[in-house]
Symmetry: C2
Subunit: 382 residues, 2 copies
C-alpha cells in the first residue's frame, strides 16, 4: 500500500471562553506525515465515555445549549455558571481536542519496521484527540485487534476494560479479597462481573433501578443490591458478610451512597467481633470514588468507626504505579477477550457532526445506563 499523504481531516474541539460560554465545533486539521516510529490511524469508532464528557462539556449547563452554523459543521454554545468557571481557569480560551480512545485502520505508516508492520491492521488506541478523522500515534501505542474484529468492537479497549481490571488489581494489591461496585449495570459494571466470574472474585453489585438487577442477573451476577429498595441496607450488609468485601469503587460520587457502603461494611465486620471495640472495627474499609454521575455533594455520617477511607481513584495514575510491563499484560488480556469479557454495546453510532446535534447531546449527556454512543468520525464521509 502506498504511503501517500492524507491531507487533512475533521476534528471535534471544545473551548471554554473567558466570558463563561462553552463552544463545541468541528475544525479541519492537517494530517501530519508520520515519523519513522509513527502511524496514521483512520478512526472509525470512538466511544463517548463519562470520562470524556468532563472535558467535552467543561461543566456547562447543557440545558442551555443552542446550535448554529451549517448542518455539516455545527457550532454548539452553552452557559457555564460562575462557580464552575473557577475550576476552568486552566483551560480558558484553549481549543481542546476530545476523545480518550478509539479504533480504526492504520492507513499510513512511518519507515520503521514496527510501523510498517501495522499497515492495514485494525488497531485500538488511547491518548486523547480521538474525535478526529485521522490520528497520528506511535506504533508501540497501537493494540492490534484479533483478526476479524471490527473498529466498533475494539473502540472501547482501554478506559472501561482497564478500569475494571484496575479495580480488581487494586483490591488485590491492598489486601482486600472481594469488592463492591456501584452503577453496576453499566458497560464497565458488566465487564467487571465477567472478570470476577472468570477469576472467582467476590463482587457486590449496587444498582439504582429494579430493571438493572435483571441485566446483571442475566449475565450471572450473584450479589445485586438495588439502592431504591426499602431493604437495601440489609441486603447490602448480607452480601458484604457473604463476600467479605471491604473495598468499593463508586461511580456515583455525590449523595449518601459512599457512607452507606462504609456503614454496611462496619456492621458486617462487627458481626464477627468478639468484644466491644469503642472505636469500631479494626478492619480497614475503603471507598474509591472514580466517577461523578451525581455531581452533588458527598455526605456521610461517620458511623463506621475510625478504620476507613474515601478517596479518588483514576486509571492513569494506577497504570503508572504498576508500570509498563504489568499494564501491557492487562492490555493484552483485553485484546484477547475483546469479543467476550470486554465486549461493549452502544445505543447509536453518530458522525462528528451528529455528536453535536442537541437531540443527541440530550441523550448521551444523561450518562444513563444503556445509553452509550459511538462516534464514527468517518461516517458518511468515505
Amino acid at each position: 500500500m502506498a504511503n501517500t499523504s492524507l491531507g487533512a481531516g475533521l476534528q471535534l474541539r471544545s473551548t471554554v471562553k473567558k466570558d463563561g460560554l462553552l463552544d463545541l465545533s468541528l475544525t479541519t486539521v492537517p494530517t501530519p506525515e508520520p515519523k519513522p516510529e509513527e502511524v496514521i490511524v483512520r478512526i472509525d469508532a470512538s466511544p463517548i465515555n463519562p470520562s470524556d464528557q468532563g472535558l467535552l462539556f467543561g461543566g456547562a449547563d447543557m440545558s442551555t445549549a443552542r446550535i448554529s452554523g451549517p448542518a455539516d459543521s455545527p457550532v454548539v454554545t452553552a452557559n457555564i455558571s460562575p462557580a464552575v468557571m473557577k475550576a476552568m481557569a486552566g483551560r480558558l480560551d484553549q481549543s481542546l481536542p476530545v476523545g480518550n480512545e478509539g479504533a480504526g485502520v492504520v492507513v499510513q505508516a512511518g519507515t520503521s519496521p514496527a510501523a510498517q508492520a501495522l499497515m492495514g491492521k485494525t488497531v485500538a488506541i488511547l491518548g486523547g484527540s480521538m474525535y478526529s478523522q485521522y490520528r497520528c500515534i506511535k506504533a508501540v501505542q497501537c493494540l492490534v485487534l484479533p483478526p476479524g474484529t471490527t473498529a466498533a468492537e475494539g473502540a472501547s479497549c482501554f478506559v472501561n476494560p482497564l478500569t475494571a481490571l484496575g479495580m480488581v488489581e487494586t483490591m488485590r494489591a491492598q489486601g482486600h479479597t472481594a469488592l463492591v461496585h456501584t452503577a453496576a449495570a453499566s458497560n464497565l459494571g458488566q465487564m467487571l462481573n465477567k472478570i470476577c466470574i472468570k477469576d472467582s472474585v467476590g463482587l457486590v453489585n449496587i444498582v439504582r433501578k429494579r430493571e438493572h438487577v435483571d441485566i446483571l442477573k442475566k449475565i450471572g451476577a450473584t450479589h445485586v443490591c438495588d439502592s431504591s429498595s426499602p431493604t437495601f441496607m440489609d441486603d447490602l450488609t448480607e452480601a458484604l458478610v457473604t463476600t467479605g468485601a471491604t473495598v468499593a469503587f463508586d461511580a456515583i460520587g455525590g449523595g449518601k451512597l459512599a457512607g452507606q457502603i462504609l456503614t454496611a461494611m462496619e456492621v458486617a465486620a462487627n458481626r464477627t467481633a468478639k468484644e466491644y471495640s469503642r472505636y469500631g472495627s479494626t478492619t480497614h474499609k475503603q471507598v474509591y470514588i472514580y466517577g461523578g454521575l451525581d455531581r452533588g455533594p458527598t455526605e456521610f455520617n461517620r458511623t463506621f468507626g475510625m478504620a476507613w477511607g474515601i478517596g479518588g481513584w483514576l486509571l492513569t495514575p494506577f497504570l503508572q504505579k504498576i508500570g509498563f510491563e504489568a499494564a501491557q499484560q492487562l492490555r493484552e488480556r483485553v485484546a484477547a477477550e475483546i469479543r467476550t469479557t470486554f465486549a461493549s454495546t452502544y445505543t447509536k453510532e453518530v458522525s462528528l457532526a451528529g455528536a453535536l446535534q442537541l437531540e443527541e447531546i440530550a441523550v448521551y449527556g444523561k450518562q444513563a445506563t444503556g445509553e452509550k454512543y459511538l462516534i464514527n468520525p468517518n461516517k458518511g464521509l468515505r
Copy 2:
C-alpha cells in the same frame, strides 16, 4: 516500703442499658495483689479527654441527664436516641470502666526487680480504667516522670502528646513536608505548635474563633486561619502555598471543613501547574479525621480533582504500625519535655463524685477549647 494489701478502691463506670438509658456511677472494686511484673498505681490525676467522652457518655443526649443517689456516690442517668443505640449493640448492659490515661504514685509492687524499682515513683500510665483510685498495671507500661514532676503535670503524657507526635510522624512517613491542624487552639494543638516550631515543620493552624488566633500567636504560631472570617478560604490558600502542606488532621469531623481544606490545597497545587490537567492536580491531598467535635454529617463538593483522600486516624493503630521501639522513643521524648513542649493546662480538678455532678458535665461535656477537666480519684479521700 511494705507491700501491704490496699483492699479496695472506687471506680467510675459507664453502662448503656438495653432500654436506651445511660447509667454513670461509682462502684467499689477490690485492688488485686500485683503479680511479680506488676505494680499498683494510686491515680492522683486523669484528664477527661474528648476521646474518653465517647465511652463515658455512650452517645447519650446529656441535656436529658438527671442525678440520684447520695452525694458521695451519685448515679447519673441520660437518654440515648434509638439511632445511636444501634451503634451501641456491642456494649449493652456491660458496666465499663473509663479513663484512658493518668498519673500517680506506685504504692505497691510485685516481686520482680523491675516492679520493685518503681516503688514510690510518680509514673504516667495508659490503658483504660484510669478513673479509679488504684490501677494495677505492668511495670513495663509505666513511664517514670522526671523527679519533681507532679501527677497533675504528668496526667496527659500519652493521648495528646503521642497524637501530636504521631501526626508529624505520619506526615513524614507519607512524604508530605508540612501539615494542617484544626481546632488548633486545643491543648493538643498547642503541643503540635511547640513540636513544629522545635522541629522546623510547617504548620497551618485552623481555629473557629478570633480569640483562638491570639492564643496561638502568643506561643509563636506563624499561620493561623480563622474559619469564622470572611477571608478564610483565601487566608488558608495563601498559608498552604507558603508551607506546601498537603496533609491535614481534623478534630472536627462534621460539616464542610475537610472539603474546604482539600479545595484550598487543590487551588494551592494548581498555582504552580504548567498546563491544564482535566482531572485536577496530580498532587495527593489527604485529610485525616481523628475527632468528632462536630458530630453532624461530613459534607464536601468534590472540587479538588481526583488525587485526594479522607479517612480516619487513630493513635493506637499508628503506634502498632511503627512498632514498640519507635513508640518508646516518642514516649521518652514526652517524659523529658513534659513541663515544656507537652505541658497541659486544666480548668478544674474534680473528684470521681465531682465528675458526675450535672453542672460539671455541662461544662466539660462541651469539649470547648480551654475547658479541660482533671479527675483526681483520691481527692478529699486521703
